[in-house]
């Protein structure tokens, strides 16, 4: 499976110290701000519940591959969402199901704040649910 975007993020983060990781995250968020997220998708149906800030995730399927776009009203979370949606877009359902919390742990964002890491893990589960890659959980928008 193609995890090149994920590997890029992981390797970059590994090379940075905590302070620089934090700024890197903000940079990702700031860059992403320039790519508008569809206004109409910022609704209840696309909301990921359980976050301290609001997070919306758009899910598309193209030739059996899942593509995600995300947005948040908080900049740091926007950076985290971007990292997750970039990392795990383009995978098949079976591939997505193989992504584990260890992938999130490897990003080592827990060193920034543990709450962020917990949020990232919830985000991974959310992406998997949207893609139907989490057996036993209903899929589709709003099913989280």
């Amino acid at each position: 499976m193609d995890l090149s975007a994920y590997e890029d993020y992981a390797e970059t983060l590994e090379a940075l110290d905590d302070e620089m990781r934090f700024e890197y995250l903000l940079d990702i968020a700031k860059k992403k701000r320039r790519e508008p997220f569809p206004e109409e998708a910022m609704d209840e149906a696309h909301l990921m519940h359980g976050c301290m800030s609001r997070v919306w995730i758009l899910h598309d399927i193209d030739e059996d591959r899942h593509y995600f776009r995300g947005h948040s009203d908080a900049a740091i979370v926007k950076g985290l969402v971007t990292m997750m949606t970039d990392s795990f877009s383009g995978l098949t359902t079976a591939e997505l199901a193989q992504i584990t919390l260890d992938h999130v742990r490897r990003l080592n964002l827990g060193a920034l704040t543990t709450q962020r890491q917990v949020g990232m893990m919830a985000m991974l589960k959310h992406l998997q649910k949207l893609a139907g890659a989490r057996p036993g959980f209903p899929s589709g928008p709003g099913a989280a």
């Binding site: 301290m52 900049a75 920034l112 704040t113």
Partner: protein, 426 residues
């Protein structure tokens, strides 16, 4: 516990009788081991005390002593250790009664939290005494713990929930509140101090008005008992609830004060051991209050820890603590007003040391995360007060809540952290 009293005393030994001008935060801080640690290689600047306060060594010692040397279940053992634990546990009732100026220890019911205390009143007193159409008055600034139990009751009994307005600046308007009182008002349940705005509600006047209307009064003192002396007899309320962990004590222990008359009239709300006189399959006779409301093995170690916390704050003096925190709050409000783009939420004239604010263009969570990286611990979000957020037209705030060990330097670190966040997120 003796050690604890000594450490607290060391902080106040230079104090004259009223001690207002010689309160020494540095000496106080030395009593709290966690305050000397760092986070992200920076000194910890702990301004999230409204959520839960840190513990002095004397509280940690009391818990350790209880488990290590005086541990056995309370109320039932025919042996030395059970007697010692029971004596220590019941002794805390006296300490709580002294803290609140309650007339007798039997008016003190131990719960696990304020939330449980309010649910106790809802499930016992209100369940037995309220019927469809009866009215309960709360305010817009209540914590969810003083909203949801009444909504559950509304669903069960058909009671009516009325909500007193909070002014734009966070002020509690007594006249508007009085307008809500009718012949059907059976309960007024209000916070003593808003956990978001810091507003101090004039609970004695509220109680006077409520009593004149024939209503029972419950005060949520979660934030109230922490920042100022509380006298339940002077307030005249029927119930007053507070929690241990915000008062420098352990988690898992709370208090419901109730007048002897109210408690005596109330049915139990949970059944089990410890709350009975006799049990047979035909008939069970319940214990007198307070044990009637303490089914099962109580959190007696936590209660003993709370006793040590009460000893600690009383040794410093609630007046002195209140004066210190008031000065911090004044300093914080001044510092926040100086930062362009920062808007304090809650500027009532009578305000405890809880400071909420929003920063133009920035999400509270981002501000909180950047402050965190500076070593400044605050809370962000809706603070379990979503209806208040809606009233104020905001979704969340950053909240700095101060405690007896905070310093003006920490407030300055908060202000510098906010400026840093503005720069970083611009």
């Amino acid at each position: 516990m003796t050690m604890g009293a000594m450490t607290a005393a060391s902080a106040v030994r230079e104090m004259p009788a009223h001690g207002r001008n010689t309160y020494d935060p540095a000496a106080v801080r030395a009593d709290f081991p966690i305050l000397s640690r760092t986070v992200y290689n920076r000194p910890l600047c702990f301004l999230d005390n409204g959520a839960s306060a840190q513990k002095p060594q004397s509280v940690l010692d009391a818990i350790q002593h209880s488990y290590a040397s005086e541990y056995a279940n309370v109320h039932r053992g025919a042996h030395f250790l059970s007697g010692a634990a029971t004596e220590a546990y019941e002794g805390v009732r006296e300490k709580v009664a002294a803290l609140l100026n309650a007339p007798e220890p039997e008016t003190v019911v131990f719960t696990k939290s304020v939330t449980e205390a309010i649910n106790l009143v809802a499930c016992s007193w209100a369940e037995a005494n309220l019927s469809a159409g009866d009215e309960i008055v709360i305010t817009q600034m209540e914590h969810h713990a003083n909203i949801v139990p009444w909504q559950l009751l509304r669903d069960r009994k058909g009671v009516v929930l009325k909500v007193a307005r909070v002014e734009d600046d966070g002020r509690f308007d007594l006249e508007r509140f009085a307008e809500l009182l009718t012949g059907r008002t059976r309960l007024v349940s209000v916070t003593h101090v808003s956990n978001v705005l810091g507003t101090v509600v004039p609970v004695a006047e509220v109680t006077r008005l409520a009593k004149a209307a024939g209503a029972c009064v419950l005060i949520d003192g979660a934030q109230g008992v922490v920042h100022q002396p509380v006298d339940v007899q002077a307030i005249g309320c029927d119930f007053y609830a507070f929690t241990g962990h915000k008062l420098y004590g352990p988690t898992g222990i709370g208090v419901l004060y109730g007048t002897a008359e109210r408690l005596a009239s109330m049915p139990p709300w949970q059944g089990g051991g410890d709350m009975i006189e006799t049990v047979s399959f035909e008939k069970t006779v319940y214990a007198e209050p307070p044990l009637r409301f303490e089914a099962g093995t109580p959190p007696f170690v936590q209660a003993i820890g709370l006793g040590a916390a009460i000893d600690y704050v009383r040794a410093l003096g609630m007046e002195a603590i209140g004066a210190h925190e008031h000065a911090l709050c004044h300093h914080a409000m001044g510092a926040l007003r100086e930062i362009p783009g920062v808007r304090p939420i809650g500027e009532a004239p009578d305000k405890a040391a809880i400071v909420s604010f929003v920063v133009d263009g920035l999400h509270s969570m981002d501000v909180g995360a950047i402050l965190d990286r500076q070593g400044v611990a605050v809370r962000v979000g809706h603070h379990c007060a979503q209806p208040l957020m809606a009233r104020m037209g905001i979704e969340s705030t950053v909240r700095a809540s101060m405690a007896l060990y905070n310093t003006t330097e920490e407030i300055d670190a908060l202000a510098a952290g906010i400026r840093h966040a503005q720069k970083l997120l611009a």
